[in-house]
């Protein structure tokens, strides 16, 4: 199979890491190839000279949509804590957090 030079398997590993995903070595190989194919296709866009073009993040030019500072109904803890994987004393429990301090 042809391998793209648009993205390396190390870069795929890096983005998987950033996205909190783990890949088997087999998956890494397949994903690298597939992402490479998409990025190869995107080379047409990458090659465009568009220095004077304003990027467009929003499809429509709406501005200044805001709400007034008025309270609205809140959820009862029972509405959502029952959906939580692990709860203790009304709070969401997470396993210990590593790498914060030395």
């Amino acid at each position: 199979m042809k391998m793209s030079d648009s993205i390396s398997s190390d870069e795929v590993k890096h983005v998987a890491n950033l996205a909190r995903l783990r890949l088997t070595s087999e998956e890494l190989e397949i994903f690298t190839e597939q992402l490479g194919a998409v990025l190869d296709h995107a080379k047409d866009v990458e090659a465009l000279k568009l220095d004077d073009v304003e990027p467009m993040s929003h499809p429509l030019p709406i501005e200044n949509t805001m709400r007034e500072d008025i309270p609205s109904p809140m959820l009862k803890p029972s509405d959502f804590l029952s959906e939580a994987p692990v709860v203790e004393g009304g709070r969401f429990l997470v396993p210990k957090i590593l790498g914060e301090e030395s």
Partner: protein, 476 residues
């Protein structure tokens, strides 16, 4: 405490990032209550819990507050765009934070310290607060925790982050910057600005360089500083850490560090090999904010008088020294002082009492009574000790100084009476008098003390001195 830096020819460079929780009624992107101290996870809704499908809508009041602060800091208020800052952390319900990145609301301003120095403001942008993570385990610290618990009541509370330029050069300036910013915020009524409760949070970017150097060296960001005192200690510790690293031929590494108050040191923070790539991009669920000229003009018109202007006005009126002026403005006593002086109060006396004797509050004290009191004191109808006592009574229960003086038996001892006493003393102590006339100032205290003793302290020290001087000139 920080002399090492200067002795060894090192210059301190500090930039501060100050987060301020805004005192809106509701959160930044939803109608949940912006309240402190409720039961965990009771001030939440689909939006601030980050439930799938929920969408943010910006709180107009928060934007107004942000622009108000921006204008008070002399910033330009711009068309702004919200952005997502992506990183995984359980206190962020969406695993991204909505903030402003390349197009913040406020840009390029400055803050004037009471000393007169100005510190540049790079930006002041709007963002959402995170939830609160409590670490459970024997140590109570995150590193020793067995697990953590998350409460999202704080998630989504509106914050403004004010980023200074790295123009702060001393610890005093750093502290002064924060307290000045705090008084501006209080004057604007946009936050309760309590550092201990976390409604103002300060991160310090600290680096050092040799005097004369132009480039900035590697900086470290110090977090978890909870008071002005720890801010000073943290900067001092960190600067010295850098200096000793350089002294050993090493360099600090750019990183986030946490201030450990009890250990009196900073510690290296999260080692984020990954997290440095926040993948900012425009928040597609929100639209740009584009305040009109009229909106900005209106904000300027509604601007209250700010501490720097008030300090200038007070200094012009009273001639008081800058530290006193700063103190009085901080206590919000300047308007009262203006009224007192307008009502005939003697500036010098007014300032003296305001600074020394009225720190606990003005109580029942009226401007008229205070003005009269300073006049009486100025005319030596009462002594300063008596004035202080009368002032105490005025604060406690009001009244007029003249009546109180009579009531307390503070009929001032007349100048004539004091002259007689002084002349008597000169006769009785001719040796001492000779020494006084030869310029031995030590015996001056003896004469004043004697007069005070025989009048039970009711004589005015100023008058005694005046008479002594007159007599000594006569003697020559």
């Amino acid at each position: 405490m920080n002399q090492v830096i200067f002795k060894d020819n090192w210059e301190l460079i500090v930039g501060l990032e100050v987060h301020v929780e805004l005192a809106t009624q509701t959160k930044l992107f939803c109608g949940c209550l912006n309240q402190f101290g409720n039961e965990p996870n009771t001030n939440v809704c689909p939006v601030c819990l980050g439930l799938p499908g929920s969408l943010p809508v910006v709180n107009q009041k928060a934007v107004y507050f942000a622009m108000r602060l921006g204008r008070a800091l002399h910033c330009s208020v711009n068309r702004s765009v919200f952005a997502r800052k992506n990183y995984f952390y359980p206190d962020m319900p969406k695993d991204y934070q909505i903030t402003q990145y390349d197009l913040p609301t406020n840009l390029e301003g400055y803050l004037e310290l009471p000393s007169g120095k100005t510190i540049g403001i790079e930006r002041a942008h709007i963002e959402e607060d995170t939830g609160k993570t409590t670490h459970i385990g024997t140590s109570g610290r995150i590193s020793g925790a067995d697990y953590s618990l998350v409460d999202y009541n704080r998630a989504g509370i509106p914050l403004i982050e004010i980023v200074s330029k790295p123009e702060i050069r001393t610890i005093e300036q750093a502290k002064s910057y924060v307290s000045e910013l705090r008084s501006i915020i209080l004057a604007l009524e946009i936050s309760d600005a309590k550092m201990e409760e976390g409604s103002i949070r300060v991160d310090a970017n600290v680096s050092v360089r040799e005097v004369g150097e132009n480039n900035l060296r590697t900086r470290c960001e110090i977090k978890n500083v909870n008071s002005l005192k720890s801010l000073g200690r943290a900067i001092n510790y960190e600067a010295n850490r850098h200096i000793s690293l350089y002294g050993n031929g090493e360099s600090p590494r750019q990183e986030t560090r946490h201030w450990d108050e009890s250990a009196g040191r900073t510690r290296t923070g999260r080692s984020k090999e990954d997290a440095e790539d926040y993948r900012y991009f425009t928040e597609p669920d929100l639209v740009p904010l584009n305040p009109s000229e009229e909106t900005i003009t209106k904000i300027d018109q509604e601007m209250p008088e700010l501490p720097s202007k008030r300090r200038k006005d007070l200094a012009n009126l009273t001639g008081a020294k800058s530290s006193d002026v700063a103190l009085l403005v901080e206590r919000n006593h300047d308007a009262f002082i203006f009224d007192v002086i307008e009502g005939g109060g003697v500036p010098e006396q007014v300032v003296k009492h305001m600074v020394n004797n009225l720190s606990a509050g003005l109580g029942e004290l009226s401007t008229e009574a205070f003005a009269q009191l300073t006049q009486m004191e100025n005319k030596s109808e009462i002594t300063s000790t008596q004035a202080k006592k009368i002032l105490g009574e005025l604060v406690k229960s009001g009244g007029t100084p003249a009546e109180l003086a009579t009531e307390l038996g503070f009929e001032a001892i007349g100048t004539k009476e004091i002259e007689n006493l002084v002349d008597q003393l000169i006769n009785d102590h001719s040796d001492e008098w000779e020494r006084f006339c030869l310029g031995d100032s030590k015996v001056q205290g003896f004469f004043v003390g004697q007069v005070m003793k025989s009048t039970s302290g009711q004589a005015d020290g100023k008058v005694i001195n005046q008479i002594l001087n007159e007599r000594s000139i006569d003697n020559k």
